[in-house]
């Protein structure tokens, strides 16, 4: 993308270090239609073994942080409904699902944002209920 084709808005996004592809940042998960619904119950014994490993995220350096954070709190993230719209997709159970398999959270800043917010709030001692409320407030 040349400078001439890059708006200041995109420059701002890039300058603010939001990722490699400003258009991807701005658009987010536009393939999905957000739908409200209840948060899922974390599955007993759930772990992060299916979360995309770091070595498969070399092409997504910014996403790496979110995946690494989610990997540390699978039981929390499994109790959160994703607000980007993927919650209704086949095979998706919780926000954790966005970080598993093909790792669609690599492409979706809403998924990553929810994961990172969950991690940040968990580290500051918030309960799952409080984290859900904060995520609903921001992304719901």
């Amino acid at each position: 993308m040349s400078v001439a084709l890059m708006s200041r808005r995109e420059v701002i996004a890039a300058l603010l270090a939001l990722g490699l592809d400003p258009l991807r940042i701005v658009r987010g998960c536009e393939a999905h239609v957000p739908q409200s619904g209840p948060h899922p119950v974390p599955r007993p014994g759930i772990d992060a073994s299916k979360v995309v490993p770091a070595e498969r995220l070399r092409d997504s350096p910014r996403a790496l942080t979110a995946f690494n954070e989610v990997r540390q709190i699978p039981a929390i993230v499994d109790g959160i409904r994703c607000h980007c719209g993927c919650a209704s997709a086949e095979g998706f159970y919780s926000l954790l699902s966005c970080f598993e398999g093909d790792g669609m959270a690599r492409m979706c800043d809403i998924c990553r944002g929810q994961g990172r917010l969950a991690f940040r709030l968990n580290r500051s001692g918030k309960t799952l209920a409080e984290i859900r409320a904060a995520i609903d407030d921001r992304y719901g």
Partner: protein, 309 residues
């Protein structure tokens, strides 16, 4: 007369939905134009007749009193992805065939829900139609009938049609995708002056620095002064995010989801852009905000601000 005969034959084929083999070349080629304004898409599909040496088309080829589609072949179609107003008339979202009642005096536009009409099938008055007056102007001759958007604003656009020397502008207003008003109670805790610090750029390699280096970089520390004015939260950034271009000094805080705000930038008094890739939340304790964080949708911290005592 020959043209009328062709039109009748074509209309018969059209109405009966009989597949007709036809060459690709058409006297009035298909065209389309669309424009999105604040999330509302406005689109026109039409066929484009050419004057082909004819002048003074209106009142001669297109007779006064005729219900004429501003196009050719199948009726011209207008679609709106959201409810809007055209020349002040409410138009529900959807697709319409477009007609003009042409006369020596004022013209009337008719939007009809039947979009399968041929150009010879101008609709009669019936429920569901939208009718409103349009003004016509005289402009330098234009060979091919053209629809276009000569003017785009933040709340709407002008959609215009011209053929020959007749120019018909339509003022379309679209619904705002954002809310501007903030209650005095909510505003009270936010109003004040803040020292705002932008976080440094991301990890090496995340941004093409050679590209960014060619564009003015925003300052890392600014003063952000928020006031409540006419029901809105307005702010001034000093120094502005970009000094060499207008529109980065004055801001508006637009309430979004929950307790979050988006920043919109004001250029010469008009809201011209909403930064929807990030939002701002105040840290409020005891009824007064001590500061705020500005975070991307991906929860990256973009800037942090502390109230100036």
């Amino acid at each position: 007369m020959r043209g009328s005969l062709i039109a009748v034959i074509a209309a018969s084929s059209f109405v009966a939905h009989v597949p007709v083999a036809r060459a690709q070349l058409m006297a009035s080629e298909a065209g389309a134009v669309s424009q999105t304004v604040d999330g509302t898409k406005i689109a026109v599909e039409y066929s484009r007749p050419r004057a082909r040496g004819r002048t003074g088309l209106f009142g001669t080829r297109i007779h006064w009193g005729e219900v004429w589609t501003p196009g050719a072949n199948a009726a011209t179609k207008l679609s709106l992805s959201a409810d809007a107003t055209i020349n002040g008339a409410a138009v529900a979202k959807g697709k319409y065939s477009v007609w003009l009642v042409v006369s020596r005096g004022d013209w009337e536009m008719v939007l009809d829900r039947d979009t399968l009409l041929f150009h010879t099938q101008g609709p009669k008055v019936r429920p569901g139609q939208v009718r409103f007056a349009v003004k016509r102007e005289t402009r330098p001759f234009m060979e091919t009938l053209t629809w276009w958007f000569p003017d785009i604003g933040s709340t709407g656009a002008t959609l215009a049609m011209q053929w020959d020397t007749v120019y018909v502008p339509l003022r379309i207003s679209v619904p705002a995708s954002y809310t501007r008003s903030v209650s005095p109670e909510a505003a009270r805790s936010a109003v004040g002056t803040y020292r705002m610090h932008f976080e440094p750029m991301g990890p090496p390699g995340a941004v093409d620095t050679t590209l960014v280096a060619e564009v003015e970089k925003p300052p890392t520390d600014v003063t952000f002064t928020i006031r409540h004015e006419r029901g809105e939260l307005r702010a001034v950034m000093d120094p502005p995010m970009f000094a060499t271009e207008s529109g980065y000094r004055d801001w508006i805080l637009l309430p979004t989801k929950g307790s979050w705000y988006s920043l919109g930038r004001i250029d010469r008094g008009e809201l011209v852009e909403v930064f929807d890739f990030a939002s701002l939340r105040f840290d409020t304790a005891g009824g007064v905000a001590s500061g705020f964080e500005y975070r991307s949708r991906g929860d990256d911290l973009i800037a942090k601000a502390k109230r100036v005592p």
